[in-house]
């Protein structure tokens, strides 16, 4: 789960990490009022759950309340990489002399939390990693002891900070690590961690990604989820416990198991189609679950055909088939369905489906080719309809 900058900064602040004061505005008037209250130059920043908002014009400096209002006016409602801007953060501008990077991530290969820092802050750390990897300093956090002060000091001196700054850096890094560990995060990043004119350190941005598996013990964090910023279909799927990721293609995919779902998408692509989504219905074959999944898929206007690919291991295929049929009865649609069922009671399952007048297939490749073909015919049909209209 991704948090907005302003939410991330709230967390950092609660760990005594210096963050410039700032508040969220949802209207230009609110932005103006905040700037007036601060009586200082502010930055108006789009709050969207995607990167690259700076390049997209989503961050503006405002010297006066009027400028802040104008900036918010321009930014609110913007579309940044498919994300609608509904909130801006109005935050006091800081005069800075250098931008550092500081972050905590999970190092999968090392099975450890790694603290990373760089004197090349303010730009995407992945760019630094690609171009000048020697400018990134890392320490692995001991899984049993946590982050030790000496480790943060080593990072601080590698950055070239002086003694006083190293002490401040140590406090910030320890706060960041505690925020990471105590929130069950998978990423906490301050970029830039700026050095002000007075030599002090201040966090000018915050990126926090929480481990979804840890949310059950952080109810208060889970409650910060920005439902509006989520894709509605993805939100619905999440609430139903389905794994769903919307894509840009035309072939809806309904599969049991994440690996098989990815492989199904891959085979669709190999057969010349474009998957409209990733969707894993998980174990079990209950009709309501299948119906919910189909509803989400069919709500996508781009979908021209649907591929159902089920490997019934312990689950019986006839049950899955009945689930599909029931679901389609509840929710009639003109979109063609290609269904492939393999596993226990496969024959019975296929029999049930054939009565429902669905296209069936035996292999994944065959299913993929049939669904791509069906989608193409459907598109032609739609084109013809549009032509006729």
């Amino acid at each position: 789960m991704n948090l907005h900058e302003y939410q991330g900064k709230e967390i950092l602040r609660s760990y005594q990490i210096p963050v410039p004061r700032g508040e969220v505005a949802t209207t230009p008037g609110e932005a103006r009022a905040i700037a007036e209250r601060y009586g200082a130059t502010v930055v108006v920043k789009a709050q969207v759950l995607t990167g690259g908002r700076g390049k997209a014009g989503g961050v503006k400096l405002a010297r006066t309340p009027a400028e802040a209002e104008a900036a918010a006016e321009r930014i609110l409602g913007m579309d940044i990489k498919g994300h609608l801007v509904r909130k801006v953060l109005v935050t006091e501008a800081a005069e800075i002399t250098q931008e550092l990077y500081l972050g905590a991530v999970i190092d999968r290969a090392g099975r450890a939390v790694t603290m990373m820092t760089s004197p090349a802050g303010g730009i995407d750390i992945e760019e630094v990693a690609a171009k000048t990897p020697e400018r990134i300093y890392r320490v692995a956090v001991n899984p049993f002891l946590g982050l030790l002060d000496y480790q943060t000091r080593e990072l601080g001196f590698e950055l070239g900070l002086d003694g006083r700054q190293v002490r401040e850096f140590t406090r910030i890094a320890q706060g960041l690590y505690r925020a990471f560990a105590e929130s069950d995060a998978s990423l906490v990043e301050i970029n830039p961690l700026a050095i002000g004119r007075d030599g002090g350190l201040v966090a000018l941005d915050a990126k926090v990604v929480l481990d979804d598996n840890g949310l059950f013990r952080h109810v208060q964090l889970d409650a910060r989820r920005d439902l509006e910023a989520e894709n509605p279909a993805e939100r619905q799927a999440r609430e139903l416990g389905l794994s769903y990721v919307k894509l840009d293609g035309t072939i809806g995919c309904l599969v049991n198991g994440a690996g098989l779902a990815m492989a199904t998408m891959d085979v669709v692509k190999l057969s010349g189609g474009e998957p409209a989504n990733f969707l894993d219905i998980g174990g079990g074959a209950r009709a309501d679950r299948v119906a919910a999944a189909l509803r989400i898929i069919l709500a996508d206007q781009n979908v021209r055909a649907v591929l159902v690919n089920i490997f019934g291991g312990i689950t019986r295929c006839d049950e899955v088939a009945r689930g599909i049929v029931t679901a389609l009865q509840e929710m009639p649609t003109g979109v063609p369905f290609v269904v492939r069922l393999v596993g226990v009671n496969e024959a019975e399952g296929r029999e049930i489906l054939s009565q429902a007048n669905l296209i069936t297939a035996t292999t994944m490749r065959e299913a993929a080719e049939k669904v791509v073909d069906a989608a193409r015919r459907q598109a032609t049909l739609a084109g013809a309809r549009r032509g006729a209209a």
Partner: protein
């Protein structure tokens, strides 16, 4: 031979009285696995399908001497606790089916198990099966048959798909093992490859990977250095967009790394036969001239 589980496996089921625990205990018994005990706090003294239930692993170990454990306790109830309970009482192999253990818990757990020398399969995995000998997992037994192919996978149903493909073509499995879809798992591809390479029953290895992390790349360099048996691989997620989690907690391309393309390239460079589709895994195995199964399919 086969690896990790066989006729000598004496299994403890942790969380035996839950829905999943009950169902799969019966399935494993049906397959012929020796299930010696179950553990559920507060249910000690009972039994399930003839298997005695204990309140604690300590009691179960004292009474029944299991040498392997399978964990069905939901992650939001137990977290990694059942894994610690098993390892602290000396069980050398723990298979954790449960999905949803927070990654920071697994970081600590991973390193703790390394200290203790316990082997953990999973979490968030389907378990493993040595066909005809023992099933310690939730996969369908009937699609497997004893044979010469070692299978290791980060996935569940995708593995069944490929196992089914191979079985239908007459190839059996020495052991099929799902290592799990989480970012931090107890046993990696490399760990399993090290076992398969020395297993006399295993003639060829099928590796089923997916996007996220660098386990497949590490497997590639290990294979290049150490594995003389033929390896066929399939990597799922070529169409997955970056930054999105594809069902599995670990299946995410982040910072531009963990793509299917780089994994396939690394494996190819290491001499691995990389299939474009699950079905092609069967084609590649056929082309390698691996022995077909000689023993009859296991009873389902």
């Amino acid at each position: 031979m086969s690896i990790l589980v066989d006729e000598s496996t004496r299994l403890l089921v942790q969380g035996i009285t839950g829905r999943e625990g009950q169902f799969h205990t019966q399935q494993m018994l049906h397959y012929g696995t020796t299930v010696v005990a179950g553990a559920t706090p507060g249910r000690g003294g009972g039994e399930l399908a003839g298997v005695p239930i204990f309140d604690t692993v300590k009691d179960a170990v004292a009474a029944t001497h299991p040498n392997a454990s399978i964990v069905f306790v939901p992650a939001n109830v137990g977290g990694a606790d059942p894994i610690y309970e098993a390892t602290d009482h000396g069980i050398p192999l723990v298979v954790c089916i449960s999905e949803g253990i927070p990654v920071l818990d697994m970081v600590r757990c991973f390193h703790y198990l390394r200290l203790n020398g316990t082997r953990l399969i999973g979490p968030n995995c389907p378990g493993l099966i040595s066909p005809g000998k023992a099933k310690v997992g939730i996969m369908a037994g009937h699609i497997h048959r004893p044979g010469s192919i070692g299978i290791v996978s980060r996935s569940g149903t995708l593995t069944y798909e490929i196992v089914n493909e191979l079985t239908n073509r007459g190839y059996g499995q020495s052991t099929a093992i799902g290592i799990g879809g989480d970012p931090i798992i107890g046993t990696s591809f490399v760990d399993v490859l090290a076992l398969f390479k020395d297993d006399l029953q295993t003639e060829a290895i099928v590796l089923i990977g997916e996007i996220g992390g660098t386990d497949e790349q590490q497997a590639a360099s290990y294979i290049e250095r150490e594995v003389r048996k033929p390896v066929v691989a399939f990597i799922a997620g070529r169409t997955a967009p970056p930054g999105r989690r594809m069902g599995h907690a670990g299946a995410i391309i982040s910072g531009g790394t963990g793509t299917a393309a780089e994994k396939m390239a690394a494996l190819r460079a290491a001499g691995v036969h990389v299939a474009e589709t699950p079905a092609e895994v069967g084609d590649l195995i056929e082309s390698l001239g691996v022995s077909r199964a000689t023993s009859p399919p296991a009873s389902s």
